[in-house]
């Protein structure tokens, strides 16, 4: 699966309270949540972001609460993947479970800035910074995780498995 988009870069410890503030947790509709995505860290984010765009951040992205509303808001806003030096563990599980790909790669974070265009190949882990003509490599996903992401998340993946009698 090849992804391509413009980069929005953030720093360390981007927490779930800024990804989707709790004042919107009385909503469970992903599209509605997306309208407030990153609102407390970048008020213009939901207006600017386009389908396919990529979030890049440094360490501990997604720390804080277990709210699955956070990856749901990011995915529904059109973001195709998040690349960071490290992720908080609950966010990591949640994102994979709802089919939002995450990649860990220190080099790409260091050498990428907001506005750059990235191309990401999830199967090989290849990340190309088109703007700076640089190639990076993240750890590729194992087959079962690719299948899970392609299915659209853990629920679809589990349903497919059950339907095949596995």
């Amino acid at each position: 699966m090849r992804l391509r988009g413009k980069v929005y870069k953030f720093g360390a410890d981007v927490n779930t309270d800024v990804i989707i503030p709790a004042r919107y947790l009385n909503i469970s509709e992903a599209k509605e949540l997306a309208r407030h995505c990153m609102e407390d860290i970048d008020a213009e984010f939901s207006a600017k972001v386009e389908s396919g765009d990529i979030i890049v951040a440094t360490t501990n992205f997604g720390c804080g609460s277990s709210r699955e509303h956070a990856p749901l808001a990011i995915k529904a806003s059109g973001v195709s993947c998040v690349i960071a030096e490290s992720f908080a563990r609950i966010f990591f599980r949640n994102a994979i479970n709802i089919g939002l790909p995450l990649l860990e790669c220190d080099d790409v974070v260091r050498e990428t800035e907001s506005g750059d265009i990235l191309e990401v190949e999830l199967v090989s882990g290849e990340i190309r910074n088109v703007t700076r003509e640089k190639l990076f490599r993240a750890k590729p996903y194992p087959d079962f995780m690719m299948e899970l992401i392609n299915a659209g998340g853990l629920i679809e993946y589990t349903k497919n498995k059950l339907a095949r009698g596995l």
Binding site: A22, E68, R93, I155
Partner: protein
């Protein structure tokens, strides 16, 4: 093996597990609340499931935005309530509920050696009882509700040893804030924090719950304590089924062993906007406050309220400050009532609320306006956590909170009481 390894091995049908290993873990209890349950219920139906794996092992608590703060919250609470009734789950209605992580241990629903997964990041609180408990998202919890098991990676472990005796007005909150200040908000990422040492042995259960509760603020998967006399005494009239106690082996492997002289740790305050941004109470300076909140899954237990009442007794909340006190459960509320603590709070000019997570996550019952400052006994001080993104949150223990409520600025309990 560590205590954590042993619990996980026992719940995955293995004799031995080691860090990094992927295992399928049987859950003794699955938990969700009024914010996370609606998403989990939708995913549960989408999965094609019809019945939870065991209705007595799935608990739902309306605590975050309940009693419902607005119409959308009421709809979410209603959806959870109807699901819980239809499935015959363990459910606590408003008037009987408490903040989930205060309530479940009180009701004997979590016991040593058990595995709990909850759609709430502070599920790690139950590690205080020698259980393995960890937070997950709604989709994981939907699968756990249906299957009674969930995949996990066995975490590595970091051991924290606290030597010496604690000073005046120093408790579990200060030990955990000091530790997070030292290792950072990702200092225990993906790991289990195992707490030990003389100061831990002397720490009451309330303080242990506080420490385990905030393990997530260091990025940890769990925070665990060994079972001892204090744990058993706590469980004596609560546990209604037998439980198993596990101990870490003498040669158990830790990625790090970190030791502190706990006698030198003073009351801690975490400054905006990270729990790791800590200072000792004597390095604070003059920070004027608009609000103080005492409560939450971190510090809403009877021991916490007693500490606050000690300082507020016969004194007044500063006229330019709101002090909001929220007992963590009906049992805590009743205990505080019987001991006369509620009267002390009301006479001091504090507002006392029915149990709710409310202001901790900027829900209701004390949301902050732009430019306002709050000192809170809760667990997070991220941008916008308690309301406006232009507000500020400081984290501290209940004694510092009470002293600050009286002074109208961040204050040491010793300014009020002497030694």
């Amino acid at each position: 093996m560590t205590l954590t390894d042993k619990i996980l091995a026992a719940h995955s049908g293995k004799e031995k597990v080691s860090p990094g290993e992927f295992i399928n873990v049987r859950a003794d209890l699955v938990l969700a609340n009024d914010i996370t349950a609606p998403l989990a219920i939708n995913e549960f139906w989408r999965l094609g499931a019809r019945q939870v794996f065991n209705s007595q092992k799935v608990v739902m608590v309306p605590d975050h935005f309940c009693p419902s703060k607005d119409i959308p919250s009421a709809e979410q609470a209603k959806m959870m309530r109807e699901f819980a009734r239809e499935q015959g789950l363990v459910y606590f209605e408003v008037g009987r509920m408490g903040i989930e992580h205060v309530l479940l241990p009180e009701r004997g629903l979590v016991l040593p050696g058990e595995v709990v997964v909850g759609a709430d990041s502070h599920t790690c609180t139950y590690g205080a009882l020698g259980a393995f408990a960890t937070g997950m998202g709604s989709t994981d919890i939907a699968v756990a509700m249906a299957a009674g098991e969930i995949w996990m990676k066995v975490p590595e472990a970091i051991k924290f040893i606290y030597h010496g005796k604690l000073g005046n007005w120093v408790g579990g909150k200060d030990l955990i804030l000091y530790t997070i200040g030292d290792i950072g908000v990702d200092g225990a990422l993906y790991s289990t924090m195992e707490f030990a040492g003389e100061a831990i042995e002397a720490l009451p259960m309330d303080g242990r719950f506080t420490m385990a509760n905030m393990a997530i603020e260091a990025g940890a998967k769990a925070g665990v304590f060994h079972v001892d006399g204090k744990t058993q005494e706590y469980l004596q009239h609560r546990a209604t089924r037998p439980y198993k106690m596990y101990e870490s082996d003498g040669d158990a492997k830790y990625t790090k062993v970190i030791e502190y002289d706990a006698s030198k740790i003073e009351p801690q305050v975490a400054f905006p906007h990270l729990p790791s941004n800590t200072k000792s109470i004597n390095e604070i300076g003059d920070i004027k406050l608009d609000q103080v909140v005492i409560g939450s899954c971190t510090n809403g237990r009877l021991g916490d309220l007693r500490l606050a009442a000690k300082l507020l007794k016969g004194r007044q909340v500063h006229p330019e400050l709101r002090c909001i006190i929220i007992p963590g459960s009906q049992e805590v509320y009743l205990g505080a009532l019987k001991e006369g603590l509620i009267e002390i709070f009301i006479r001091a000019g504090a507002a006392v609320s029915t149990p709710t997570c409310g202001p901790c996550l900027g829900g209701h019952m004390g949301v902050l306006a732009a430019g306002e400052r709050c000192l809170s006994t809760t667990n997070r001080n991220f941008v916008g956590r308690m309301g406006s993104p232009q507000s500020e949150v400081y984290l501290a223990n209940p004694a510092v909170a009470a002293a600050s409520a009286i002074m109208g600025r961040i204050a040491s309990p010793e300014e009020i009481s002497g030694h």
